[in-house]
Assembly symmetry: C3
Homo-oligomer: 264 residues x 3
Amino acid sequence: MIEATLPQASLLKKIIEAVKELVDEANFDFSETGIRLQAMDKSHVALSFLHLREEGFSEYRCDRAQTLGIGLGSLSKILKCAANDDQVQIKASDSAETLELAFESAGKDRVSEFKLKLMDIDTDSVDVPDMDYQATVSMSSQEFARIVRDLLSIGDTVSIDATKQGVRFSASGDDGKGSILLKHQKTVDDEKNTPANTTVQINEPVSHSLALKYLSNFAKAAPLADRVTINLIEDAPVMFEFKISDIGHIRFYLAPQIDEDMDV
Amino acid sequence: MIEATLPQASLLKKIIEAVKELVDEANFDFSETGIRLQAMDKSHVALSFLHLREEGFSEYRCDRAQTLGIGLGSLSKILKCAANDDQVQIKASDSAETLELAFESAGKDRVSEFKLKLMDIDTDSVDVPDMDYQATVSMSSQEFARIVRDLLSIGDTVSIDATKQGVRFSASGDDGKGSILLKHQKTVDDEKNTPANTTVQINEPVSHSLALKYLSNFAKAAPLADRVTINLIEDAPVMFEFKISDIGHIRFYLAPQIDEDMDV
Amino acid sequence: MIEATLPQASLLKKIIEAVKELVDEANFDFSETGIRLQAMDKSHVALSFLHLREEGFSEYRCDRAQTLGIGLGSLSKILKCAANDDQVQIKASDSAETLELAFESAGKDRVSEFKLKLMDIDTDSVDVPDMDYQATVSMSSQEFARIVRDLLSIGDTVSIDATKQGVRFSASGDDGKGSILLKHQKTVDDEKNTPANTTVQINEPVSHSLALKYLSNFAKAAPLADRVTINLIEDAPVMFEFKISDIGHIRFYLAPQIDEDMDV
């Protein structure tokens, strides 16, 4: 028996919107400590991780660990039927064939109930080791989304170069090239970063070329978090992390392109 | 000779937007007491009624009863040329071949004149008797529009179930099913319903299955009225009424589907 | 060596948006006194002139006259990467193969650099003599854009009739006809026209028929200027002028259609 309640449907809506760009269907692993999802995108290039801790829910109960295969397009349609400030409850009995969702309006005068058919999804679990990244960029998630959108109009690939001075995003295409430099700004207290502030914590300069179309998908998570961190290390996937306040995070891993072309 | 003036073009715009979803061309019957329109949709399933009383116009003159056949697409295009707060005057001489429209800006510095060719339209008049409905639901028209839009993402057919407790809208489709319950809320004074309030006046519980695509068309009338009433009775079309303040109403009739499937 | 700086990227964005509707690629002539562009549209019917005076730039330097051939679609894409209040600098060395653009955010923490490949464009320069127009209409550019959009839903051709009473725009099509009259309003001081005010300075009444699709393109310049002047004279192209405050203007010339049909 699973029962999990969130006071605001908007949070769940945003989470599913962020994940469904990359993945059509996914296994949600429910356990005592919360919900985890791990999924490769259709082309097996980008890896998405979602972790929602039980203490982030207003109510959470999971009698025994259970994996629910969910079509994200269908779930997204159902969530569109919830008002942003509806309370949302998700429920599944043991060996359930459907996920039950209930939305209750703030005034309790409107109750919506939906049942979504569950799916059997084959997945291989990938083990992603924790890494000591060479460089960590912390920046506004809105600014990240904007840079990705802007550079997509120039080319297909972005080079991300992190140095002590800041982080540079560059792309080139048939008509020309472009690069955007965000300067590192010292802050007295990292926790009090203003949303527009950029910081680069760096051991060694590192640079990677990445396919912009995936970053464009990752950017769909911007509504979930004011800031994104980009974690870089030589010879390993780049990790993008969006912290979801008080409840967890969503992480995307993307392998760099081998042919790096960084001159702009 | 017909002359009818409305102080705000926005009202006429909204009326035509609501009707043109269902009907391409329609006969407008002008008489001393006002304007009436009755039209079946193209698939002869839904019936639209419009009644605008002469006292709702700032000026109204109709020397003798006259029927004007109007293409609603063309009329809608012309009305797009009026600012919302323009005064609008419609005019037709006896046995006219065109409808004349004049829009005058509040400052009177801008006068637009349009002529729309009239059409000969064959229609059969349908007699719709007044009924003692078993159940009348009064609810926010915005909420109605939203529920219809939400359930369209689930399935094609909605079941409307009216009971003393409230009204339930439900639909099912390939991915699952959904239902939305609006609870009946007692009000001291029905005239003072808040827009979000739902009331169900009921003699006997009644439930009908209806094609959502028609309800989606009816919902285009939501900008005309804060509230919609849904009137249900066994073995007869469901009537949706939007009252247009101080001037009249628009009513839609839709025959229920015979194969009722109401379990959700 | 060319270097020109504008304090607000929004101005350059609006200019390029206005011109790129008519012209895919164009030669920009840089000289000591400023920048000029002259281009025929693809169908060789409408002529666009742009003039930006050097004193309108916060910095301007042009060592020797130079013509840069620029693809406006690509330039527009690059300008989308500038925030509206970014400072924008354009730069080209002598015999450059690329135009360099730099956008700097107000806080100077974000610097974007773009390089756009230049093109060789063959153009014939057209000499447009200054004229003593018979009638000059000065009106709100928003109102102009709106009338053009409205009449496009009626027909393909607009007749513009300027008289002492005002200016009338009319069109006719299959469904009917429409005309919009803006009355001439005396103003004590022409420089202090309110945006919604219309004035007609007239020596002789004049009327021309013009293809609405070009006017629809000209109307893209409305964000650049509160007002547009329409300058009419018998047997010569109509000139539409949008003054760009403190820096220059954009002018469009359009030959009238020979078969004038002005009865509405």
